[in-house]
Symmetry: C2
Subunit: 583 residues, 2 copies
């Protein structure tokens, strides 16, 4: 057996059992120990798929074929540790207890080693809904080395769980005087802006406690709203031994003989997961009123990578080859189009923009939309809605006696655009990118079935001020693709004469900070006042936020880049006492 | 103290702490023991609301005020047992461990008695995400009687949980030779067509095992998609001592002296919850191919009550006073309008229908829409889309070179209607009722942002054949409000010349049965073939079902009436290997 250990941060589609097995068979031709992420064999998160009998049947059929193949391979000089599912069935074959496990794959066949012990069940995680937790520690020996095995959450001591697998591992090693050479963690850990740093710090902490290297293998993939960034690594104490890329399938290896052992040190765990640590509002409370933390250059670069990856993933996995964005002349749509261009640089002809001015659209919006598309080399279609709008208005006047004014007249323009956008999408098969941002979503500053339409939302986890920051970064890095005036003009929906966002909303700097306070679950009216915000402004934001729940409920998947996001991990009833009473 | 026990199946909005306390104070004026449902003080399901610090703060402030008030009431001759939340907080006041409990409310103040032990976490339930389970049995004494306390799921021994609170209660009573007089279960148990019968049977079983009456108090309310039907009862063995109404706030009392005790009997628990029992496909497998079970007259009556209640609840809690339905001349929209009329019988002027024919709408559709509105005495607006449709088509021809045909031309009619419907809704503030059914939703036979729009879906949990059955029942019961021809004509989307559903879909009888097999999580291609379905037809349905996930993801809340429904309890990733490969 070879002395090499391989970290494979694989990138497979959910349910692609055949793809996973093909990959394994290929890798096993290379001698050594091969490590794969959590649930490598099935993908993650599977949600209800995991409960489907046909899903389980197909999975086990593939596993059984793999098992036979393995046993026929006499000369296999490699072993793999892979994440997979372990099913129990009822008498009728219905999936019963399901475990999230590590299998050893070798010429002996498939052997169960370990079951995940800490099943995250907060926010976007529902693992206790689907999986049964394991109760045993596992030490795995390869050649003369012994590794402690963990799966993802197992590395996080937490107030959410009653046990600490790291502590149990430590106890076992100490009481049985075992020699440990490393800890292996197979993960499927979702991306957010702070995540990779947190993982590294915690791994380094564990590494110090045990005095051995920590080997971390994370999957790569975009699953609707959740991104897995890979970013696998080996760390020993504070020393990085290996670091893989983010958002990219990659395999790296190292030699076992280079794994050193150091003296274990007592380290007080600083990275315990608590409700408070997970959803700490990202606010600078030194100023009054408090401010949203600014995005650093590193944050912006990460964001850029994440959003491009998320767009490409959804597009590829759902079979899109063309892309469509409605431009307004404003910041959000300009940034979405720019991200699309960066995602599909090689084929800008796959992207098209459509600009649908109404009587309220300014000539500046037209000019800026044209400039943007020129800069990006993207085809722009000009489709004025003035006449259709007037047409509808007239027909309404003939049919209904109520006035056609105010919100009615504003929303119809937005919905007309949504309708035309999807009609164009029907003609070409293009994927429609949504252009809403997190601030807009939070206060319902959009029209349902109008500008809120789309298959995927790239900006729905960025506050408006973060949209500007990211746009400025992109302009800085890529020779100003976005016309400067788009960044400097005041945001407007242009649905009535001289409309400006700031007429109906607080300035975005304050709005975004208030929203971050509300969405973190922690800050109510009282706390926000203490942070220096105006009571009336808070009340207004809370009211808008509470009243727009129904819009968020029918929204498309949002690419998640923050620890607290709208989407799958955000679950608020629509029918309730207006929550602004107790926010 | 009085010898009377009151069952209050209350009907309060989520978060209405003040309303709950007002109700309590009023009821406590009447001497006796007052019983209230699970989470009476807060409402249920709360989802993430329960985690919000301001929510917890407001709740505890109300509780503390109630506590002071209680202690000031010297002459209180009543006691209440109520469901509520019990919060622990971190040092920063963030909700930490949260328990779903029973409190005793008396002149002594508020006293914790019991914490719910079995936290359901399957399908629509996420209780392990939010609550910490209790570990102790509770016996509660009032006057000379002793009651075992349970909360909802505690009465269901199950393969989902590691313990059985009823068994523990039995063990305690037996080993400590205690005298038990009854079992009290405070519930928030969601409605489905089979549920009330299941509850009664299981309660009767427990009653026999203990030889004491089983007292069951369930909440009333419609929470977006989930309905709580009340239907509280007291049962002793197979004898019903008290039965409250369904979908109606109600209080009933009985005298403690009438509670008799019988000899406990060994009864093998027949009503254990398993994955298989919960999601058994509702198929008659005696015929080949299998058929969906027919709805009985009783089922239809329950459905009618449930849907009317669900519509009224969503409307009231979200502040609607007007209602709007787009009629097509077909079955689904006719049934929705009829349900609306039955829901708001006193004020039919609050309801309006709009009929938006295109060039493909038949004159029969016009005639039937008019007849229906005449029968129901509902105002019908006639809003032809022929010219707008032609207008858009022309503008597209001028702007884009791709043909405007096929799906493009079909969907645009549907989206134009969606847009006009919501424009009308903006004029009057009317709630738009969606008209999709479960078969349509399952195969994606609808246009996103077109006929799929709406605030609430009354028919989204009824297969097409069930829609017909319910319509026939309503016609039988209410003097034929729905024109017979609507029931007898072949279903059509009327988006192109001579289009019939059956041109693109299997006959609904078979389609619905195949879908029930798929959605139950249990039946794949192989099993469906064994049940007598045609392989090609199955493949076609699976393909349509898999490809339409993205439409369901942006759909409105569906009133849940079956054990397995689309909506909150249905969670399938969009990005995945096409599941029809393994279905």
């Amino acid at each position: 057996m070879s002395d090499r250990v391989f970290l494979h941060q694989t990138h497979l589609t959910i349910g692609d059992f055949a793809g996973a097995i093909l990959r394994l068979k290929k890798d096993l031709l290379t001698p050594g120990l091969h490590l794969y992420p959590e649930l490598f064999l099935t993908g993650y998160p599977l949600q209800d798929l995991v409960l489907k009998k046909p899903f389980a049947d197909s999975y086990e059929r593939h596993l059984s074929e793999l098992n036979s193949w393995l046993k026929s391979q006499k000369n296999l000089d490699a072993i793999a540790l892979v994440g997979g599912l372990r099913y129990s069935r009822t008498a009728h074959g219905v999936p019963d207890k399901i475990e999230n496990v590590i299998y050893e794959i070798s010429s002996q066949g498939i052997r169960w080693l370990y079951t995940k012990r800490l099943l995250p069940n907060y926010d976007i995680f529902d693992e206790q809904k689907y999986f049964k937790a394991g109760s045993e520690t596992c030490l795995y020996s390869y050649q003369d080395k012994t590794f402690g095995l963990l799966i993802c959450e197992d590395m996080w001591p937490s107030t959410f769980h009653q046990m600490d697998p790291c502590l149990d591992l430590k106890t076992k090693v100490t009481t049985e005087s075992l020699k440990l050479d490393g800890i292996i963690n197979l993960s499927a850990s979702p991306f957010d802006l702070q995540k990779s740093e947190k993982r590294l710090k915690r791994a380094s902490e564990i590494s110090q406690q045990f005095g051995v290297p920590f080997i971390y293998v994370n999957r790569v993939g975009g699953e609707d709203e959740i991104l897995f960034d890979g970013s696998s690594f080996i760390v020993h104490g504070e020393k990085s031994l290996l670091q893989l890329s983010s958002f990219k399938e990659e395999s790296e290896s190292f030699q076992l003989m280079n794994l050193e052992i150091s003296t274990p040190q007592y380290v007080d765990p600083k990275y315990e997961q608590t409700w408070e640590s997970l959803f700490q509002p990202r606010l600078d409370t030194q100023t009054s009123p408090a401010k949203l933390h600014h995005l650093s250059t590193i944050d912006c670069e990460k964001l850029l990578q994440a959003l491009i990856f998320g767009i490409k993933e959804y597009s590829r996995k759902n079979g899109f080859k063309k892309y469509l964005v409605a431009l307004s002349g404003g910041m959000d749509s300009a940034l979405v189009l720019t991200l699309l261009k960066l995602a599909f640089r090689e084929n800008p002809e796959q992207i098209e923009a459509i600009y649908m001015p109404s009587q309220f659209s300014s000539s500046l919006s037209t000019k800026l939309s044209e400039e943007l598309c020129q800069n990006l080399n993207i085809k722009l279609h000009y489709f004025p809605i003035k006449f259709l709008h007037a047409n509808i208005k007239n027909t309404f006047h003939q049919t209904f006696m109520e006035p056609f004014a105010g919100l009615t007249d504003e929303n119809v323009q937005s919905r007309l655009r949504g309708m035309l956008l999807y009609t164009r999408s029907n003609q070409t098969g293009a994927m429609v990118l949504n252009t809403s941002n997190k601030s807009e979503l939070a206060v319902g500053y959009s029209t349902q079935y109008g500008d809120s339409v789309g298959a995927l939302s790239p900006l729905g986890d960025l506050y408006k001020s973060e949209v500007y920051a990211l746009a400025a970064y992109i302009n800085h890095r890529f020779n100003q693709p976005i016309p400067a005036e788009i960044l400097s003009r005041g945001p407007s929906a242009e649905l009535r004469e001289n409309q400006l966002d700031q007429d109906s909303l607080p300035p975005y700097e304050r709005l975004d900070a208030i929203l971050e306070g509300i969405l973190s679950y922690r800050l109510g009216k009282k706390e926000l006042v203490e942070l220096g915000f105006d009571e009336n402004e808070i009340a207004k934001v809370l009211q808008l936020y509470t009243r727009s729940e129904y819009k968020r409920a029918q929204f498309c998947p949002i690419i998640k880049v923050q620890s607290k996001s709208f989407g799958f991990g955000y679950r608020i009833p629509l029918s309730k006492i207006s929550t602004f009473h107790f926010e």
